[in-house]
Symmetry: C2
Amino acid sequence: MPGFHRLIDLPEEQVSDKITRRVLSGDKAMITWWSVKAGAYAPPHSHPHEQIFWVLEGRLEFTLNGETRICGPGDMGVVPGGVVYANRFLEDSETIEVFGPPREDFLGVAPSMAAFR
Amino acid sequence: MPGFHRLIDLPEEQVSDKITRRVLSGDKAMITWWSVKAGAYAPPHSHPHEQIFWVLEGRLEFTLNGETRICGPGDMGVVPGGVVYANRFLEDSETIEVFGPPREDFLGVAPSMAAFR
């Protein structure tokens, strides 16, 4: 997706009843914008892609490599590839996640978020 | 920099009289937060790292592969590695840039932004 874009023009994908996502990807990295309702939960899982998250609004419980923290605006973290993490959204939240390399499963037509409930 | 972080705790590096930067890096990708005063200018340049930018606040003129656009909040773009770009900040601005792979020259102790004036 080289070139100029506008966040508002990126398709907003309905991932579940509580989660929508926008995606902007290059070949090496990807930014994803998440709008998540309170109560959404991702049980412990991992993926080979490195992930950097940044909480813009809201509040969630993030468990990373066995350590659990309550994260709010301005909180962030680096999840190395293969490391187990989980999160539970305590409030309606807005977050971004950067993946390196891009999550190829986020580039398909159909939502692919089996880990989210 | 695996694990939890807070944006406010990341060192704010004075890159020039008009530019400060915060950096959070993994092994595959890096997020950088930029506070830039009106008048800062980066002449045409390129780097092998792919870059994705997102304007949070302010206004700048971004030239990407020969096309110039005025970018404001919500505007963004993907700059493939090796592609020439330039930018001129028209207002005090807040932006983020994601690099894949990480800019190793942003991880040193000393600021390294010869391209910026």
